[in-house]
Structure formats: C-alpha cells, structure tokens
C-alpha cells in the first residue's frame, strides 16, 4: 500500500494537476476488485475464443459437441484438434503469459527500472541457452530434467542484471536496458550457433527458440505450471516488502523489511517465473515490459494489485498473440513470441521516448 511520491489515495487535499492520478481511477479496493474480476472474465472469454480460432476444419458446433463429450469420448479430427492442439496451447499461453507478466512486474520493482523485462534483459535468453545446452549437448529430452537448466540460466542472468543495475545503472534505466540487450544478443547468438551446428538434434527446438506456445502435451504443461505457480506464490509473498524497498533501503529497514532476504526472494521469483515460462514456451520477449505498465495504470503503485493485474493482462496478451499468429501467415503459423515482439517493441520506443529529459547518456 505504498504511493511513492503520491498523496494517499482518496484524499482531495491536492488539486488534480495533470492527468488523473494513476490507480485512483478505479475508486479504491472495491473498484480494483471489480476490475480484476472483469479482467478475469475477459481472459476466460479470450481463452474460450482461442479454442474456436484456427484454420483447422472444425465448426463451432462440432467443437462444442466434442467439448461436452469430454476427452477421448469422441473420435475424429475435431476432438484431436481441440484436446491435443488448441486446449494445450491455450493453457500454455495463459500460464506463460501470467508468469511473464508477474516476472516483469517483480523485475521492474527489484531493479527500480520501468524498462525492465526478463525478455529484453536477457533472462529468458539465458534460460533458453541453458535449455539448448541441456537438450543439445547433454541430450536431456524430458521437461522435468531440462527445466532445472532453465531455472539455473534464468537465475544466473538475473543476478548479473541485478549487479549491473546496482553498478552502472544508477539513475540510468536506459543503460541497464542496453547492457541487457547486449547480453541477450550474445546468449541468443550462441543458442542459434548451437542449433545450426547440430540441425538434427535441434529440429524439435526450432519453433521453440522463437517463442511458441504450441506443441506441448498436458503432462509437460502441468509440470511447468507447478514451477510457475511456485513462482507466483513466492512473488506474492515478497510483494509487500519489495514495494517498501522502493522507499530506500534504510526506510524499508525501519519499517521492518529484511532487505537482503527480500531481494533474494524476488530473484528466486524471477527465476521460477521466467525460467519456467522459457522452458515451456521458449524465450518470449516484451510481455514483462508492457504488462506491468498497464497494471500500474489500473492499480497505481500497489505492487500486490499490480501483480494480479499483470498476471491477467500477461495471459491475455500471450493468448491474443497466439490467436493472431494462427491467421497471420497462412498456411503457416507465426509463433506467439514474434507477435509479442511486434506489439511490444513500439511500446518500448514510446516508454523510452517518455523517459526523463536530459537522461545521462
């Protein structure tokens, strides 16, 4: 419940100068709860829509029939399309999107940088490279084996980014972003090189490497979901102390926040969320950048609410990207990761443009 430089919500002491104060437009906790519920409903609607959207030969009535019949009850292509293709990718999109949204919000709070995103800063690429090494060099094929590599890769890069933001990034969010872009370029380059060196082995990873939610079976999604759920729980636990860290270490300490433990917890949350999401869907960029801004617009500086909104909005974004990708380049499909980059990059440009004047550079 922190408002960094703002007056406490609801007071009319200050005249509303400029745009209405972010977070107050929803009218207190009740309004936010309603907005969150509405968002969840909208998410469900889009998720349902994603079951019907596609180029496959399946009319809506047949899809509803096979849904009512349950898995395995009905035979034929429609049942296959629904249960083996569209339902898994819908679940993947929701889980991955929520994870990336929350990871972005946590990361922006952790390194107090509004341009942070585990994708742009190289965390997802680090997890991706670790998976490429695990699958290609060591030959692990099952998700529950290589997910550990993804987590380790994500943790390593997020620690590096954190260290960078403490040293070079003081007062300059753009510098940290640039460093992250460079890290990301190197890691992605190595992944690409490995994939080209051994095409046979990496054929299965080809789609995954540009970030796709397609082609996961339900068991894998379940395992990834567990990892991501853990991440969301950790994130929720540390949301409050993390928000208090924004006041500065000493003030936070005097409020009873254990500073180092909080930072460590946030790093673990990012590891679980970004690593788990990348292991499931490959390195997807920009979701963690865009979504927290939208969430802050709705929830203000309240990190807990912001996380909830980020999760919903992230899931929605990846779902929409996936649905759009099905129609963009018939007869093929564009992976969701490309669509999020396409939507997210202009947002980054606008955010960078809106950055403070006289940015040291």
């Amino acid at each position: 419940m922190l408002a960094e430089t703002r007056a406490p919500g609801g007071t009319k002491a200050l005249p509303p100068a400029g745009p209405p104060r972010a977070g107050e437009r929803l009218g207190g906790p009740a309004g936010r709860a309603v907005a969150l519920a509405a968002g969840t409903l909208l998410l469900c609607a889009i998720a349902a829509l994603s079951l019907f959207a596609g180029v496959g030969q399946a009319s809506p009535t047949r899809i509803i029939e096979s849904l009512l019949a349950g898995p395995g009850a009905a035979e034929g292509t429609v049942s296959t399309i629904v249960y083996d293709m569209r339902l898994p990718r819908m679940l993947t999109a929701v889980i991955v999107g929520a994870a990336l949204g929350v990871a972005g919000a946590i990361m922006q709070a952790l390194i107090s940088n509004p341009l942070a995103d585990p994708g742009i800063l190289g965390v997802n690429s680090g997890a991706g490279l670790a998976v490429v090494i695990a699958v290609g060099a060591i030959g692990l094929v099952s998700f529950e084996r290589y997910v550990w590599f993804a987590l380790a890769g994500a943790l390593l890069v997020s620690l590096v980014v954190y260290a960078l933001s403490l040293t070079i990034g003081r007062g300059s969010p753009l510098t940290v972003l640039l460093a992250g872009v460079a890290i990301s370029a190197v890691l992605t380059g190595i992944s690409t090189a490995l994939a080209i060196l051994d095409p046979a082995r990496f054929n299965a990873l080809r789609g995954w490497m540009s970030g796709t939610v397609a082609g996961r079976d339900l068991a894998t999604i379940g395992q990834g979901g567990v990892v991501i759920l853990c991440g969301i729980v950790v994130a929720a636990c540390f949301a409050r102390p993390l928000a208090q860290l924004a006041l500065g270490d000493e003030t936070a300490q005097s409020l009873g926040v254990r500073v180092d433990a909080t930072r460590f917890g946030a790093a673990i949350a990012i590891m679980l969320l970004a690593g788990g999401a990348t292991a499931l869907a490959g390195p997807i960029l920009f979701v963690g950048l865009m979504v927290p801004h939208l969430a802050r617009l709705l929830a203000g500086q309240r990190l807990g609410w912001s996380l909830a909104f980020s999760a919903i909005a992230g899931a929605m974004l990846v779902l929409v990207a996936d649905i759009a990708g099905r129609f963009l380049i018939p007869p093929g499909e564009a992976p969701a990761g490309l669509l999020t980059a396409l939507i997210g990059a202009p947002v980054l440009a606008l955010l960078a443009r809106g950055g403070r004047e006289g940015e040291p550079g």
Binding site: L115, T167, I168, G169, S172, L174, T175, L177, L178, A179, V181, A182, I183, S184, A185, V186, T188, G189, I190, T192, A193, I196, L197, D198, P199, S210, L285, F286, L328, I329, P331, G332, E333, A334, L338, L339, A341, L342, G344, A345, P346, L348, A349, L350, A352, R353, G355, E357, G358, E359, P360, G361
Partner: protein, 368 residues
C-alpha cells in the same frame, strides 16, 4: 579550398599555415606528420596509414586462408598460382567459382559496413548510433525480404532494401526526437525499432520458408555462403562508387562531429553534407544487406576499433573501411572453418559484437 588528408586536426592545420613561414614547425603529435605538396596539404595521421597497412596484410592472410581452407584444401602456392592465371583443373573451379567470390565479398562488404558504421556513429555523435544497432540493417532486410516476395531481380531487392533502411532511419528519428535527440534515448528507440523489424523479418522468413526452406533462414542470420560472381560484381562496383563518393564528404563529417554550429562556421553546408552522408551510409548498408542478409555488429565495432588503433579523435572512414574488411573476412573465415559445420557469419559477429557492445556500455557507464 585546401584539401586535407585527414580533417581531424584541420583547425590547427589552418592556423599553422596562416601564421607560419615555410619552415615553421608545429608538433601535431607523435603520429601526425604534416604533408605539403603542391596540390594537397594537411596533417597525415601515420597511425591510420599503419592501420590500413596492417589491415591489408592481415586481410590478405584471412582472404588467402579463406580460399585455401575447406573440405577440398588447396595449398597456398596453388591458390596464388591460380590467382595469377594458372589452370589446375578442378582446383580452379573451387578457387575461382566457389571460394573467391566469398572471400572478395568478405573484404568488400566488410569495408562497406565499416564505412557505413563510421558515418552513422559520427552523424549521431554516439558510439552506439550504428546502423545495425538502431535498426537500419533490420529495416533494409525487411525491404529485401518484401522484394523477394515479388521478384528475384537483384536491383529490385537492393532498391527496396534501400527504401527499408531509409524508412527505418526515419522511424527512429521521428520516434526519438523530442526537443533534440538525447543519446541513450535515441539508441533505445533504435533498438525497439530494430526488434520490431526483426520480428517482422522472422515472420516474412517463416512465410517464405515453404518454398526456399533453409536458405532463407540462413540468410536471415547474415551469411556470405551463397555469394557468387553475378551478385558480387555489381554490388562491389556499387560499393566502390559509394566509397569514392564519400571521400569528398569525409572532411565535412569530421566538422559535423564538432556540432552543427561549429561545422557551419568552418564552411560546411550542414544540411547538404548530412543528407549526402546519410544516403551513402544507408545505401552501403542496403547493398550489403540485400545480398548477405543482416550481418550484426560489424558496423558497430569496426569504426571504434579503427579509432582505438589509430588513436584518432573521431571516426576515420579509411580506418573503418580497413578494420571492417578485416573483421568481416576474419569472422567469415572463422565461421566457415572453426566449427564442425559452417556457420552463418552473422551468428559469429553477433556473439563477438554483442560481447564487445556489453564491454563498451560498461566502459561508458563507468566513465560517468
């Protein structure tokens, strides 16, 4: 107007000439030597000369080993004999038809990328304002890919690549401009434009890959693998003309580095010079990209390496061309032979250049 071999010290040079009798000796620094002939006078930075010389030697070594190495190894003596016109049967085909175009492309395209990078880093007065970082390479490649959808004429591809590069430059400029261009904001906006265009490129490549499968995706990484004479000859001619055109503009580029006002006061027609340089820079990038795909970071690294090695104040276009040619031929030879499978050179330059970019950012940040 007096021509200067290298304009970095032009003000000093004019002052010296104005006040000095013929035997007045000004110390321009350890590596600088005043050159006075009847036609041209100026201060020659001998380190740039040495750098160019070194690049020629090392570049020739990379060039020759690029030709000699491979599954069908041709000894150096035979390579030289063939290049001098001997006929050794199959080895001739290997050397002249397969490997020579690639080696030539490495040198020529590298020089083009280096000069393009030098121009842009000077124009933006920002070491990161290089055409491959701020999305011009990606934009040129978008244009090239769009052209491939309709036609396979190399001219059409190059023209659309040019249009794409210019459009990307305009987009970056418009998005980043807010009461002036601040350094970092400009670069981050450029990176954003670059990521968006890269995503577009990947989508276009996916769309196309039903017909041309793997070649297109390798092209998307930036490669010299499939470069043959019919492509390289017009491209090399084009690059040669552009490199000649840039020579008379080089002094203006150095003045522009000092700021528009200062440049104008030293007699540079600011807008005209900038437009000409911008066009040449984008064209160089477009020609290379339309054939080799987006080769990352050579344009970023080459001018700075040149500056470092030459110890010059600003970017030197001759040095940038030399280091660019050297970097690309060495990377291409390395990418072709260091690994079990021949990699696209763009992957190698992306990894090496990305590491360099990181080091550059760390250094710039710690200097503040």
């Amino acid at each position: 107007m007096r021509r200067q071999a290298h304009g970095g010290a032009s003000l000093v040079s004019r002052e010296a000439r104005g006040s000095a009798s013929s035997d007045f000796d000004v110390d321009f620094g350890t590596w600088r030597r005043p050159v006075r002939t009847r036609l041209v006078s100026g201060v020659l930075n001998t380190r740039i000369g040495m750098l160019v010389g070194f690049a020629i030697v090392a570049g020739t070594a990379a060039f020759l080993s690029g030709i000699a190495l491979g599954k069908y190894a041709v000894p150096f003596e035979e390579v030289i004999a063939i290049l001098r016109g001997a006929d050794l049967g199959f080895a001739n085909t290997v050397v002249l038809e397969w490997r020579l175009p690639r080696a030539v492309a490495g040198l020529v395209f590298g020089a083009a990328l280096g000069v393009s990078g030098g121009i842009f880093q000077s124009l933006t007065r920002n070491p990161l304002g290089s055409p491959d970082v701020i999305g011009l390479g990606a934009g040129a490649f978008t244009g090239a890919l769009l052209a491939v959808l309709w036609s396979d004429q190399q001219t059409a591809i190059t023209i659309l690549a040019l249009a794409g590069g210019l459009a990307a430059a305009a987009a970056v400029y418009l998005l980043a401009y807010r009461r002036g261009l601040s350094g970092m904001r400009f670069v981050v906006v450029g990176i954003a434009v670059s990521s968006a265009l890269t995503a577009v490129n990947s989508i276009l490549l996916l769309r196309m890959s039903t017909s041309v499968a793997t070649t297109a995706s390798i092209w998307g990484q930036g490669t010299l693998l499939d470069v043959r004479w019919p492509e390289i000859v017009p491209a090399a001619l084009c690059i040669g003309v552009l490199l000649i055109l840039v020579i008379p503009l080089a002094p203006a580029l150095h003045q522009l580095e000092l700021g528009d006002g200062t440049a104008a006061s030293t007699g540079v027609r600011v807008e005209r010079a900038r437009l000409g340089l911008l066009l040449i820079g984008v064209l160089l990038m477009a020609v290379v990209t339309s054939i080799a795909g987006p080769i990352a970071f050579v344009a970023l690294v080459a001018p700075q390496l040149a500056r470092l090695l030459a110890g010059s104040g600003g970017a030197t276009l001759a040095g940038s061309a030399a280091t660019g040619a050297l970097l690309l031929s060495v990377s291409d030879t390395a990418s072709a032979h260091l690994f079990p499978v021949s990699l696209p050179v763009g992957v190698v330059t992306a990894v090496a250049g990305g590491a360099y970019l990181l080091a550059l950012i760390l250094r710039e940040a710690s200097r503040r």
